[in-house]
Symmetry: C2
Subunit: 253 residues, 2 copies
């Protein structure tokens, strides 16, 4: 059994609490949080503390707070030479205070409150200063996920940038699709099967082979007709730029 | 039984052939195609013709060819006053030669060769000049799909533009994600659960509520760090522009 103290009560923290409580190999000793309310339905209140002095001894301390709070929280921990990790995609391991042994446990997924995800399929990207610590983080990760991998800080940053493109930016394109539907008295539901199939396709095909549409065909007539149709400046600019990028890719082949 | 002659042998045509052959309410009389090879595994060769003179009488003629060939093909049909429809998202009904009764049957999906799709869930958008013809197109559509809807030419254009954003452009963002992974010796597989979850989320949530990431949080430090990381000009420009668009949306709330 590996004992864990989890620090945080936001989206990622909540999903980690749920996953750890379901694991036989993990003892979730405590959760440190200033916002007790958001996690009271997940864990009994006597396991939640909000003063640094009350934090118990554990094999690993997992800091799942917002990026800009990681450094402060890690420096306030009132102990030294214990294993402390953060869960951020964009922060280097070195953001953690050097008084403790450091590592990273980054679950690569988009977490939404009150929407369960299957943690088993979520890739967890690991990093640690010391080999023994890496093994502890690995055991913790493998107790909740089947896809666990060493990733350097630099690679993690690349992965996070890529994740912004394929998740955050993709969702914004869904929003534009929804806006266009609304303006034309169309139900967004009409686009949902297309959205699901687009995501399904790249499980089997490379994105290059899955690419279709007017830009891929260099179909200037349709492209111009679409640009004339669009009135919102951001939508028009995004249409132009991604079309250009698809056409540029075609030239490289 | 409604009798159909299908014109075309590309992606859309192939998926329609498969769907019609499975329907009890449809008699697929003939397929007109100059490229017999691509459909020989779907339908027996005696049902495939390549001369306009050989085309038989049918209740409805479905033209599933590339957008720029629709007008020519419809004008070459050697008969008048029969029901002729096209399957294009971006072309108005009026592109069809006026010598025949006109309509549209637009299946809103991304079709890939050799990848089956469940036609039952594909929205089909319909339009017709005459009410009786609309009923025929409706019956044909309902024999293969459960989501059949009247959509005007103008709405269909809006839907096609929206589809370019949520399908073609989304796939290009997948390609950028894949490119970033490759450059950093990371497997694109790491991003696939995230991609699936991003698509799943908008079935339950509006895209506004599903939006996460540095732009949504207006997290300038992460945004600048990502922009410094990116070296490809198109990637950088797309990152800037979609980030701006997400931030602009936040200001409107």
């Amino acid at each position: 059994m590996i004992s864990i103290v989890l620090i945080g009560s936001g989206n990622v923290a909540q999903h980690l609490i749920t996953a750890f409580l379901q694991s036989d190999e993990i003892e979730l000793v405590q959760v440190f949080s200033r916002q007790k309310e958001s996690i009271l339905q997940l864990i009994s209140s006597d396991k939640i503390v909000s003063n640094y002095d009350e934090i118990k001894v554990a094999d690993i301390y997992i800091i799942a707070v917002s990026d800009n709070a990681i450094a402060t929280v890690s420096s306030k921990l009132p102990f030294e030479n214990r294993l402390v990790v953060h869960t951020s995609g964009s922060m280097p391991m070195e953001i953690l205070d050097a008084k403790n042994r450091r590592g990273v446990l980054y679950p690569l997924q988009t977490f939404t409150k009150n929407k369960t995800v299957d943690f088993k399929e979520i890739p967890i990207c690991l990093e640690a200063e010391k080999e023994d610590d890496f093994k502890i983080i690995q055991t913790v990760s493998e107790s909740v996920s089947t896809v666990v991998q060493f990733i350097s800080s630099e690679q993690r940053k690349a992965l996070h940038v890529a994740a912004v493109f394929v998740c955050n930016f993709v969702n914004h394109l869904f929003k534009i699709g929804n806006d266009i539907c609304k303006e034309n008295q169309l139900s967004f539901d009409l686009l949902k099967p297309l959205i699901q199939e687009t995501a399904q396709k790249i499980i089997q095909l490379t994105p290059e082979n899955a690419q279709t549409g007017p830009a891929k065909r260099n179909d200037t007539a349709t492209i111009n007709s679409h640009l004339n149709f669009l009135t919102d400046e951001n939508q028009k600019d995004i249409y132009k730029l991604i079309t250009k990028s698809i056409i540029d890719d075609g030239k490289k082949l």
